[in-house]
Amino acid sequence: MTKNAAIIGTGQTRHARRRDDVNQCELVNEAVVRALADAELHPQDIDAVVLTNMELFEGRALPDLWCAEGAAGYLKHCFKIATGGTSGTSGAMAGYYHAASGLFDTVLVVGFEKHSEGQTTGGMALTDPMWDRHVASAAIGNFALSISQYIAARGVTPEQAAKVAVKARRNACNNPYAHLQMPEITVSDVLRSDLLADPIHRLDMCPTSDGACALIYASEEKARKLSPRPAWVKAAVTRHDQPYIGDLENRLLTMRTLRDAARTAYQQVGIRDPLRELDVAEIYEPVTYAELAWYEALGFCPEGEAGRLIDEGMTEMTGLLPVNPSGGVLSTNPVGASGVIRTAEAALQIHGRGGKRQVPDVKTALVTGYGVYSWSDVMILSSEL
C-alpha cells in the first residue's frame, strides 16, 4: 500500500498560442511562483523538483538543466520525466511518489511546453524509422482512423462530438488561464470549421499551446500542517501499451489501458458507480470523440451510450458529473503540462479554489492522462484520507 501524500498548492501560467514574452525557464517560473504563493511556501521550502516536458518539440536536449533554476531546483534533486502525452500525469504521479517515499517532505512538479518554438506535427511524426515513419500521420491522422472505427461501431454523431467542443470552450471562459475561450461557440461552428481529416474538424481537435503548470505535494504529516484542505492522492495507476498503431485493435472501442487503469483505481478507492460517486473529472481529451470514448472506458456509461451522456448534459457544469470545468485539453494544450494541468484543476476543485469554474462541494475528483497511441494514467484525488 502506497504511503500518503497530498497536493497542497497549484499554479499555472496564462496559456496561449505563443508566449513570446517569456522564455522556457521564465515560463516555468511563472507557474512556480503562483504555486508557491498558493501553498504559502518559499522556494527554500521545496525539497525536490520533478519537471515534465517533451524535449524534442522545442529541440532542447535536456531542458531541465536550464529550467531547474526557474523551478526552485538549484542544488536540489531535480530531474525530468517524459512519456509523450502522459508526461504531465507521469510527473504528477512522480511528485506523489517522491512525497510518499520518506526521502522528501515537499515536492514541486512542473510541466511545461512551448509548442510555438517547434514544429509539433513534424516532431510527432518522428516515429520508428523502419515501420512507422513513412505512414506516420501524427495525432490528427491516427485519430481520424480510430474515430471512424468508433463511429461505425457506436453510432455517435458529429453533432454529439461537436457538443464536447462547445462544452469545453464555453467552460474555458470560466478559466482565466485557458488558451481557447469561446463564449459564443455553437455546434454548427464546429461542424463548419475546416475538415482536417475526416471526420475531425479543426474545432474537434485540441490546440497547441505555450504554457506551464505546477503542483506542490507534501508528505502526510507535512500536508496536515501546511494545508487547510489537502487534496490527497487515493489512487495512481499507469498502463502503457504496444508501440505500433496497427497492433492496437479497435483502439478507441476497447481502450484497454484506460479501462484497466480506471477499474484498478476505482477498486482501490471503493468506487462502484463513478458517474455518481465522483464529484468532478478532469480528463485528457485530445479530440472531441475521444472524450466520448473515454466516458465508456471510464465506466461513466455503458458502451454505446456516450452520445446520450453528452446529449443529456450529464457532463456539463450543471450535470451529474461535470467533466473538464477547466475547458480541458481541447482548450489548453502545452503537452508536457497538459497532464499536470488536469491534476492541478482537480486539486483546485478539492481545495475549493476553482473560482468561476468551481463545482460545489467537491470531495472526490478523477484525473486522467492520455498519450502515445493508447497510454493511460488515472489518478483519484480526495478531500478525505
Binding site: M54, K80, A82, A94, Y97, H98, D241
Partner: protein, 379 residues
C-alpha cells in the same frame, strides 16, 4: 524505512557502433539477461523505469518502442529523460513509497546514430550559451582549464587517469576500449580543445544496461545475491557556466553528502571499498573524487599519482574502466551502478576488487557536470 535491493544486473558489450542491432533489440537483450540474473520472470515486474533522451534517439517519446521488450504492456512505465542513475533512484523511491515491489530499470543510447556535438550544444539555453557554440567538449575544456589552473593539477595527472582506466578495462570483457597506454600516448594524442586531448575524452559509444530492484520482502530469501541500496543523493547546479564555481562541483558535494548521511558513512574514503564514477573526460575523475569528498579540494591529482585509485590501491576508482573505456551518455550512470553491484556481489570477474562490501556509483548529466547523482550500495 523500507529497504530496497538490486537483485539483477545486465549490460550489453559497449561498442563504437552496434550496427547489428536496433535499439529495441539492444534493450531486449539486457532485459532478458537481467531477469535471468535475478531469477524472476517479466510477469513478476511491477514497474518499469526507462532512461533515454528523444533527441539522441531521433524519436518522439523514445520509450515508446521499448514497451514490448521491457515488458511494459499494460503496466506502469516512466521515462527519465536523462542519466540512468536518476532512473534507478526514481525506481528506488517508488518502492520506498510502497507503490511497487519490483522494478526494471533500463537505460539505452546509441551515440553512433547522432551528432554528439550538435546534440550537446542543444543542452544549453538557446538565448545566451547555445548561440556561443558551446557543447560538451568546449564546456569541459573551460572547466578543465579552470580546475587545472585553480589547483595546479597537471595534464600528466589527467593522463594518468586515462592510462589507469583503459588498463582496468582490459579486465572487463564488456568494455569498448581496453588499451595499454602511456602518459605520453595521451599527451601526444590530437588536441581536441585545450587541455583535452583525444585520449582524455570518452569515446562515442552504443549500449544498454538494465537493473532489477526489489523491496526487502521480495528480495529476501528469493534473491541469491541481493545488494542493498544504502544511500542516494542528487543535486543540480546553476545552468550558466559563469554562475558556477567550475573547479569545485558543488552539486556533487551536496549529492554525495546526502547519500553518505543516508548510508551512515562518516568517512567515505575509509568506508568505501571502491567507486565507479562517470568521467566523460579524464580531468573529471580527479574533480569528481574531490567533489565526492574522497580527498581534499585540489588533491585529486595526487590521488591518481600515488596509486590510491588504482585497482590495487586503497580506494580503487573505476575498476571497470569507466566512461573513458566507453559507455554511452545516459547509460553511463546505470553502468556505474551495475558495476558497483557486481563488485559487492563478488562477481566482477577479473576486475573484482577483493572483499568489496561497500561501493559508490556516480552519474552525471549536463555540461561540465551540472547535475550529479550518487548511490551507495552494500552487501
Amino acid at each position: 524505512m523500507q529497504k530496497v535491493a538490486i537483485i539483477g544486473v545486465a549490460q550489453t558489450k559497449y561498442e563504437a557502433a552496434k550496427t547489428g542491432q536496433n535499439i529495441p533489440e539492444m534493450v531486449s537483450g539486457v532485459v532478458r539477461d537481467a531477469l535471468r540474473d535475478a531469477g524472476i520472470t517479466i510477469q513478476q515486474i511491477d514497474n518499469v523505469v526507462t532512461a533515454s533522451v528523444d533527441l539522441w534517439d531521433g524519436k518522439t517519446a523514445s520509450n515508446v518502442y521499448l514497451t514490448e521488450v521491457a515488458g511494459a504492456v499494460m503496466k506502469p512505465e516512466a521515462r527519465v529523460a536523462g542519466d540512468g542513475l536518476l532512473a534507478a533512484s526514481y525506481a528506488h523511491l517508488q518502492i520506498l513509497a510502497g507503490a511497487y515491489n519490483t522494478a526494471l530499470v533500463v537505460a539505452h543510447c546509441k551515440g553512433s546514430e547522432g551528432a554528439q556535438m550538435a546534440l550537446t550544444n542543444w543542452m544549453f539555453d538557446p538565448v545566451y550559451q547555445q548561440t556561443l557554440g558551446l557543447d560538451y567538449l568546449s564546456a569541459a575544456a573551460l572547466q578543465a582549464c579552470c580546475y587545472l589552473d585553480t589547483y595546479g593539477i597537471s595534464p600528466e595527472q589527467c593522463a594518468r587517469v586515462v592510462v589507469k582506466n583503459r588498463r582496468n578495462a582490459r579486465r572487463n570483457p564488456l568494455a569498448q576500449a581496453p588499451a595499454e597506454l602511456t602518459v605520453e600516448d595521451v599527451l601526444n594524442s590530437r588536441l581536441l580543445a585545450d587541455p583535452i586531448h583525444e585520449l582524455d575524452a570518452a569515446p562515442v559509444s552504443d549500449g544498454a544496461c538494465a537493473l532489477i530492484l526489489a523491496s526487502e520482502e521480495t528480495a529476501r530469501g528469493r534473491s541469491p545475491h541481493p545488494v542493498w541500496i544504502r544511500g542516494v543523493g542528487s543535486s543540480v547546479d546553476a545552468h550558466y557556466l559563469g554562475d558556477r564555481e567550475l573547479a569545485d562541483c558543488q552539486a556533487l558535494t551536496v549529492a554525495a553528502q546526502k547519500a553518505y548521511r543516508m548510508a551512515g558513512l562518516r568517512d567515505p574514503r575509509q568506508e568505501l571499498d571502491l567507486a565507479e564514477v562517470s568521467e566523460a573526460f579524464s580531468y573529471q575523475e580527479l574533480l569528481w573524487t574531490e567533489g565526492l569528498g574522497l580527498c581534499p579540494r585540489g588533491q585529486g591529482g595526487q590521488l591518481v599519482e600515488e596509486g590510491i585509485t588504482a585497482r590495487d590501491g586503497t580506494l580503487p576508482v573505476n575498476p571497470s574502466g569507466g566512461m573513458l573505456a566507453g559507455n554511452p551518455l545516459f547509460v553511463a550512470g546505470l553502468t556505474r551502478l551495475a558495476e558497483a553491484t557486481l563488485q559487492v556481489r563478488g562477481e566482477a570477474g577479473e576486475r573484482q576488487i577483493r572483499n568489496a562490501q561497500t561501493a559508490l556509483a556516480h552519474g552525471t548529466q549536463g555540461p561540465g557536470g551540472q547535475a550529479h547523482a550518487v548511490m551507495i550500495v552494500g552487501a
